[in-house]
Amino acid sequence: MTTPGAGDPSAAAKVPVAPGTPGGAGASSAPDVGGFTGDAGESTLAGAARAYLAKVRGGEPGALPALFGLVVLVIAFSNLTKVFLTVGNLANLPGQAGPTIIIAMGLVFVLLLGEIDLSAGTAGGVCAMTMALVLTKHGDLHSALKNGMYGAVIIVMLLGLAVAFWQRIWPATIVVVLGLAIMLTHVGEHVWIGMFLAMATGTAIGCVTGFLVARVGIPSFVVTLAFFLAWQGIIIAFAGTGGSISLGNYYPVIGLAHRNIPPTGGWLIYAVFVGGYAGVTIFRAWHRRSRHLSSEPMALVLVRVVGLAIIGLFVVYFLNKNRQTNSAGTPIRGMPWVVPLILILLVVLTLLLTKTRFGRHLYAVGGNAEAARRAGIDVRRIRISAFAMNSTLAGVGGIALASYTGGVPLDIGGGNTLLFAVGAAVVGGTSLFGGRGRIRDAVLGGTVISLIPNGLLLKNNLNASFQYVITGAFLLLAAAVDAFGRRKSAS
């Protein structure tokens, strides 16, 4: 192994080799990993398992709380009622968990910064209500809203636009501009455009929230608590004398939770998702290894791929079984459309967090904002972007909520919506202290958390009070695990 010796004045100057040429310092000598013996990665499964155990002991429980919760809840509910473990019941889970998972995905962005958004649920409600209004009132928000409220909506959109433009957050700028255009040109009647408007409204709301937190300097807890209350009022005001709005006839919206993909489509999605995951992770491990970069053992990658394939196989198989209880009725089978939506969000947002500069900076600001600032990162811009991202996803979550309930009730996004979403992210392994979390956590945690209402709804003699208490207890437990892990890793 060649080593540019101390005293070689070109040692530092040599460093910037053209990216891509492996081994600037010692390309000639075979695997030049310098002293970094660990960079070849743990080469065996046992080694990887040891590393994982060490990580858990070091205070990073990862997905363990979610798995624990899953086991406990499944055992408890299957003892409580026989209906729980039937296909007919569990097929409802994607529709129930969808909104929680999507809102939790957004929350991961702000939780990564060590911030919180208590208004995510009701902001999603406002988005859904806006969508419902344009859909049912021929896209004309102006005549649908009374008492100058239309002006207020436009002002919020303009404020969001101003923040996004001023901070040079271009994706948010474009989305809000399109949203404004939809409002002003009354084209929101078309269902897909109406759904986009819900998302754009969320983006604008997020920019305003982010501005108040990052620029004005109000703690996010206070800003979003204020908005949590305010948005609830706005939803009621938007509905006006009409009350709840039913969306039973708007199929792309309703279909998210209540329409199923034909079984072959389900298998196709399965093949694309699992195949894509296998292809990408196996190629990456092989490619990195061949270039002598740090990589995971191939065996571990294969175990993950096989595990995902098996779990997916079970899920798709059961969702494709006929769950029509009435033998004379038309068969009900296939996965609800919300499943591919969640999978797409999972992939896209995970890539955003792990493969882009923005994602890297988000983790950095959450880990040590001062270090990030000194590294030249615009910390405020990152903060505002995170809140914009969060509320945009809250808007999508709002659509999923409207889909599941079949319309927009006056309390949409209120109650325990937010508690479920925060719980989902935390149970999945995202830290409340910032710097640690993944989009995957929202999916895992959201699925587990949603088992609680799913199971309790089956027992008519257990009322809502149980749901609140059990969910609260779960969140507290997960947060305790998180806090304990943090203490451990700090010591």
């Binding site: 530092a12 660990g38 030249g376």
Partner: protein
Amino acid sequence: MAESPILALRGINKSFGAVQVLHNVDFDVYSGEVMALVGDNGAGKSTLVKCVGGIYSIDSGEVQFEGSPVAIHSPRDAAAYGIEIVYQDLALCDNLDIVENMFLGRELLKRTRDLDEAAMEQRARDTLIGLSVRTVKSVRQVVSSLSGGQRQTVAIAKAVLWNNKVVLLDEPTAALGVAQTRQVLDLVRRLADSGLGVVLISHNMNDVMEVADRITTLFLGRVAAEVNRRDVTYSQVVELITAGRTGNIGLKPATAAESA
């Protein structure tokens, strides 16, 4: 060495309100040398470093880089000239790994605008090899799992990664044990040997006497003396720090007494 300094401060004055912290300070850094900056608490060492790094503005005086006067108004300006400061509190993100920290804010991108992890990892590793760093197991270790010495090493390596010309180290060994101090001092020496101008701020005279080529002592905001390390003894440096003068080196008795 007769060559001209890469970084030279001339007549720097800096006040915070009514308190003048730096009086007419001259300070030179030479390529390939370790310049120690020593002085008691409140002598103005950190203020001087922050003036160079663009965190504080100077009231009057001139900063010359490679012979020509420059204006440094922000940390970005300093970085553009190739002046890097390794702060006492390190400024690393605990939740990121070594590579991620070294490239923070300056990540390399592929043509498809996503992160070029392979190139970053390779360059980080080459830098650490170039500095003969052997203390970390993997460049993908998370910083929270590193010891104090290893963290200091990462912080210094980060400063070297970008072809910098001057590196200022603020108390790099203050929180370290014996073995770790050893590693860091070796690293400081290698930085200078590889052609950088290195400024070492330290309270520890053993470190200074061992690794420095020149020593500038500050005494209550004034430069007491700039000496060649070989020309002075340990106790002379201590006297310069505590009294501002020793024998015929240092401030004039009147100045020293007046400031004290």
